[in-house]
């Protein structure tokens, strides 16, 4: 608050003429991020493709604004107008998909959660001071001998993970989403 006030060249007290509280401000900021998502991308004809695209946008937004992840923990996940637009859009994408309305609501929720999860994982790789030190610490612990599997894993995988994070995210969603609707057997692949 004080920092924000300084950035605006004003005093902390002045902010409260425009927002009722810090939490309200954070809600507004979160909804502003929801507005950054582009819901107008043309449908690829396949709901899975569309939904994966939406999830990637959501993840990208969370990578752009790391503070958002620490916010979604907040009680109740208040939905601002733009967040509701997003929700409606996602449900629209899911309209041709199988599954009950309840399942679809849960899918959208899970989608958001996964976007946050992967965004955090990507951010943690960037920040999170000195991954070398962490690796060294792990190696030291493993070398004590009480953790054979960890030791073996570190021996094999000292090379940094070569897999593309984003591709992994996409693969995950493609497996996941059909499985969560239907029983996983009967879902149409949209052969346009």
């Amino acid at each position: 608050m004080r920092a924000l006030a300084q950035r605006l060249g004003t005093g902390p007290a002045s902010l409260y003429r425009y927002v009722g509280s810090r939490d309200e401000l954070l809600d507004l900021m979160a909804d502003a991020v929801a507005d950054e998502l582009d819901l107008s991308v043309a449908s690829a004809g396949d709901w899975l493709d569309d939904l994966v695209g939406l999830a990637r946008q959501s993840k990208a937004a969370h990578v752009r604004h790391p503070w958002l992840a620490d916010l979604n923990d907040r009680r109740g996940e208040v939905l601002g107008p733009h967040a509701i637009d997003y929700l409606d859009h996602a449900l629209g994408i899911l309209a041709p998909a199988p599954g009950t309305a309840g399942q679809k609501l849960e899918v959208v929720g899970l989608l958001g959660g996964l976007a946050v999860l992967f965004a955090r994982r990507e951010s943690a790789a960037t920040s999170s001071g000195d991954p070398t030190a962490r690796a060294a610490h792990l190696a030291a612990v493993a070398a004590e001998g009480r953790h054979p599997h960890l030791l073996a894993a570190l021996k094999t995988a000292d090379a940094p993970p070569p897999t593309d994070r984003d591709a992994q995210f996409v693969r995950l969603l493609r497996r996941l989403l059909p499985a969560m609707l239907g029983q996983g057997e009967q879902f149409g692949q949209g052969e346009s």
Copy 2:
């Protein structure tokens, strides 16, 4: 800190004779929770079953201690000794599974993240003041007419989600874990 000191019948300053800082205390608490997990359950012979069981334990721990979820956001996810035991145990379970060591490390990480995610989802249903008010608010917004898909979804699914959260979690993992190791095609089902 002050609250904890009061619960212990002492002053806030006294705590600092035993922990260096609040963060250090939280790390210790997190590792104490890792110690709650029972890593000695007999193997079912199938690594997938074992891993799902471990994930359920992890999720249950996070439901028991909701503050833990708000903690894992912290920088770097410091691994205490019990957390390392857990990691080694998980890698041990994954030893007979296909995939590279790097993939397995990522799987364990994802497993933890999903446990947190689902635990939060279950907790949010319990706490998160007055879900009725939230639903009413959503319904009111949907009734404005600008969100047809949301309206349709709410009309169909006004009944609370009948699906068992835990069963859903298990189904998800069973789909997910094999897909993340191997390409999803060639994974052995461990026929004892």
